[in-house]
């Protein structure tokens, strides 16, 4: 993976830069000893690592502004970091960059049930936002798999999704306002406890900008009342095509499930060995969850069962209790862990139109044979967000590269059928060099113009999202190299 060569001039000034940062931050909030900066050398994309110049952990918006002002004056790149759970390398540093971690910014600032919002500092974890409001019967809807660890700051940067976005949307649909510090230290307030910010939708473009436009320190998030109940149904099929057709039919029938999850045979087999959830051995399995009162759930599940029966399912298991629901979800929730037990794997994140599902799965199967690498498919079928897991052996020379090439080909296929490279993980460094497969030069130019406005010096997370050759002219003093 290409990254910019660190600026030797910045490396030489490390002591002076650290000293300036220490002056504006409390003791211990500047981490600069080489033994300690290693903790920040990568995120969840662990194949790529590089310790930063130093890491800072400010405890307030004012401290974030002071840090950014200094880095702006010194011309030092800044890489914002939430909890470091990015699968795309969004928080990967360069040796000449300062990691700005929001871990100490984790307070709840305001909860308002009448107006249905919560205002938090963005270092707070996703799950603990729901934790702060669930006693009153509310929850925060976006639920990425990493929700126990991932920070709201990272959710906003990557516009994170989750299993339930078919009904509740992703981060951008649940974000009402932010306090954001720009690279020059300017603090801006956008949106708030009311709907639809005035003027241009800056909130919309900040969300999902991968930490390149500013550092969001506080967020106003929409909270929702919990449904009365939720129950899944498990449906097994003898072919991927039939399962795909069933998903389409459910959607067309007017039912809006809160989640439709899909697993294929390799994934079912691996999770059965690992979690023993009692899944049927078949080619494709759907878990469809609906919400409402007991009677409403019964009615919706009856309708879904009727649709499924028209597709000759090999198994149809309607949950009647919390215990049965937990068993149905057990395998799906352990799928990634199960795959990790049997192999190294790379998790992809392309989205496709739901109607292309059978075609794409067939092509992935063919490619799997060509590359000699196995693939297991587990994904959010309702919204077309696929997570093919390519299995490889990290200890075998050349296997990672082969796996990456295979992954790139799957993502190109997603684009070819009308989808995209990433549905919820973000571009980061991982998909950066595939951007031309989805976008033209003019498309990327339009996006980079937005960064020019927010961060004219291109100091915030500069080596991400855009192919290095494309952003090179805008990133002063940095030359892309191996």
């Amino acid at each position: 993976m290409e990254m910019p060569v660190p600026d030797p001039e910045i490396l030489n000034r490390k002591a002076a830069i650290v000293a300036r940062l220490q002056k504006v931050l409390p003791e211990g909030a500047v981490i600069h000893e080489p033994t300690e900066t290693r903790a920040y050398e990568c995120d969840a994309l662990t194949a790529y690592r590089c310790p930063p110049l130093c890491a800072v952990l400010p405890g307030s918006t004012e401290e974030v502004a002071a840090v950014l002002k200094i880095c702006h004056q010194e011309g030092v790149p800044v890489v914002p970091r939430g909890s470091g759970t990015s699968l795309a390398g969004g928080a990967l540093p360069t040796a000449d960059s300062v990691i700005l971690g929001v871990a100490r910014l984790n307070d709840v600032l305001e909860t308002d049930y009448d107006n249905r919002f919560i205002r938090v500092q963005t270092g707070r974890t996703n799950l603990s936002v729901t934790g702060a409001v669930e006693e009153e019967g509310f929850f925060y809807a976006p639920d990425p798999s990493s929700q126990l660890a991932c920070a709201i700051a990272g959710n906003i940067a990557m516009n994170s999704g989750g299993a339930h976005c078919l009904k509740y949307g992703v981060t951008t649909n649940n974000l009402m306002g932010v306090t954001m510090v720009q690279m020059d230290g300017t603090v801006v307030e956008i949106g708030g406890a009311y709907l639809d910010a005035p003027g241009l939708d800056l909130l919309g473009v900040i969300c999902g900008s991968e930490g390149q436009l500013g550092v969001v320190t506080e967020a106003t998030l929409r909270i929702l009342p919990k449904p009365e109940g939720a129950r899944p149904i498990l449906i097994g099929f003898n072919s991927n095509e039939v399962a795909g057709a069933c998903v389409s039919d459910i959607i067309r029938a007017g039912v809006l499930p809160v989640a439709i999850e899909f697993m294929d045979r390799p994934c079912i087999e691996a999770t059965e060995d690992f979690a023993k959830a009692g899944y049927p051995m078949c080619e494709a399995l759907l878990i469809v969850e609906v919400e409402g009162s007991q009677a409403e759930i019964d009615e919706q599940l009856k309708l879904i069962s009727a649709i499924a029966r028209r597709h000759d399912p090999v198994e149809l298991r309607e949950s009647k209790s919390d215990e049965e629901s937990a068993r149905i979800w057990l395998g799906r929730k352990s799928a990634f862990g199960a795959m990790g037990q049997i192999n190294d794997y790379m998790c992809l994140d392309g989205t496709i139109p739901v109607s292309s599902l059978p075609h794409v799965l067939r092509r992935i199967g063919e490619m799997s044979k060509e590359y000699g690498l196995d693939v297991a498919n587990v994904f959010h079928a309702g919204d077309g967000n696929m997570h093919p897991l390519i299995l490889f052996d990290a200890n075998k020379p050349g296997d990672l590269e082969l796996c990456e090439a295979f992954g790139a080909e799957i993502l190109r296929l997603c684009v070819e059928v009308g989808g995209c490279l990433t549905g919820e993980h973000g571009v980061g460094i991982e998909k950066r060099d595939l951007m031309f497969d989805q976008f033209s030069g003019e498309d990327l130019e339009a996006q980079m113009k937005v960064k020019d406005v927010f961060d004219p010096a291109w100091l915030l997370n500069p080596a991400k999202v855009f192919p290095l050759a494309v952003s090179q002219a805008r990133r002063p003093g940095q030359i892309a190299a191996q």
Partner: protein
């Protein structure tokens, strides 16, 4: 008038433009600071290019009449979830609203509180910027974080960053049944409190509006439930019991459709006076409305959206003072729109970002210049 028939012609027209342009779809929303310039119409960029009901997605030309699109969706029992409002009645305009106009103004109706605004349903755009560059962003899938989200930036930019040529939406099933709980006689404060309680319930209220003076002159609060019949019956009863304020449950589909159209399109607004749109934290609504000294009021979005008709020419923002939210002058004489800021003035650092974006996307300043102030 320039009326390009293809995206290529649109790009050529923008490259060739010698002066300011007024971007127009159906010409039904004459809102904003008046713009002088030649009209550029998107009407010929019309037609449904792709509709995949099983994937809940539709892609259309920006000049497509909203009515044509909604008819195609209705044939599959689907709909645009955000319930776009129709300004023709209240602005006294004629013509056919286009989907491009809906997007450019982020026009969203009562269901915004449950299903999100236009910007939340919009998943892809193609547009031509002020220099003539053709740009696509987003696509036709509902989960997409590939690159920056210019889809949202374009939505509600009132034609100032680019001219839309194509738009793509996530659509939703249209539920077969509907029930509306109607409660009469509540004060504004009591109505907003009741709406807050309803919206905090698990009954998935898809509309919460209050008219201080309803059709018969008395206050009426309306709470909408949509779904399968068994569900709306159960929820309407449960909601009435929860609120404990009594009220009638109206189940007639035509009557309830007309009732929500009345709210959505501001059918009760008097023809005279200036129309303001105020976005607030719902519990602040009644206090702010009282300060407005309005001749007519409508609360939508559980109290978070206030429509107010006040006497012509008044600077309502001066009356309201500082509040968390913003006010937009939707209908007023041209002279008033020249004099008062139509859109809420932005704090300096935010205004600098907005100005920077316009300068980059429209370097010659030819796209609806000044319409947003």
């Amino acid at each position: 008038m320039i009326e390009p028939a293809t995206e290529t012609e649109l790009a050529e027209a923008l490259r060739a433009a010698a002066g300011p342009l007024r971007i127009r779809g159906g010409g039904t929303r004459e809102i904003g600071k008046p713009v002088a310039g030649e009209v550029l119409s998107t009407r010929a960029l019309s037609g449904i290019e792709l509709y995949d009901p099983g994937a809940l997605t539709i892609v259309v030309g920006a000049g497509t009449p909203l009515e044509e699109m909604e008819a195609a969706l209705a044939a599959e029992n689907q709909r645009l979830a955000f319930e776009p409002l129709d300004y023709r009645g209240v602005l006294g305009s004629a013509g056919a609203p286009t989907i491009g106009g809906v997007v450019a103004t982020n026009a969203s109706g009562p269901r915004r509180i449950q299903a999100g605004a236009c910007r939340d349903s919009l998943i892809g755009v193609r547009f031509v910027d002020g220099s003539g560059a053709v740009v696509k962003n987003g696509g036709r899938v509902m989960k997409n974080v590939t690159g920056y989200d210019l889809v949202k930036l374009m939505c509600g930019s009132w034609g100032t960053l680019g001219v839309l040529s194509q738009v793509a939406f996530k659509v939703l099933p249209a539920p077969p049944d509907r029930a509306v709980l109607l409660i009469e006689g509540l004060s504004d404060e009591a109505a907003v409190a009741a709406m807050a309680q309803a919206l905090a319930s698990p009954y998935e209220v898809s509309g919460a509006a209050h008219l201080p003076r309803g059709v018969d002159g008395d206050p009426v609060t309306m709470l909408r439930l949509e779904g399968f019949e068994a569900s709306t019956r159960y929820r309407a009863g449960a909601l009435r019991a929860l609120l404990g304020l009594g009220g009638d449950i109206e189940r007639d589909l035509q009557k309830t459709a007309a009732g929500w159209r009345y709210i959505r399109d501001l059918e009760g607004a008097p023809a005279g006076g200036d129309l303001w749109r105020i976005s607030v934290k719902p519990s602040d609504g009644p206090g702010i409305a009282a300060r407005a000294g309005a001749d007519w009021l409508e609360y939508d979005w559980g109290g978070g959206l206030i429509w107010a008709v006040v006497e012509a020419g008044v600077d309502l923002r001066a009356r309201l003072g500082n509040f968390a939210g913003h006010a937009t002058l939707i209908r007023a004489a041209q002279a008033t729109r020249e004099r008062l800021a139509v859109f809420q003035p932005e704090p300096a650092p935010v205004a600098a970002i907005s100005a920077g974006l316009r300068a980059r996307f429209d370097p010659r300043g030819i796209l609806n210049p000044g319409i947003m102030g």
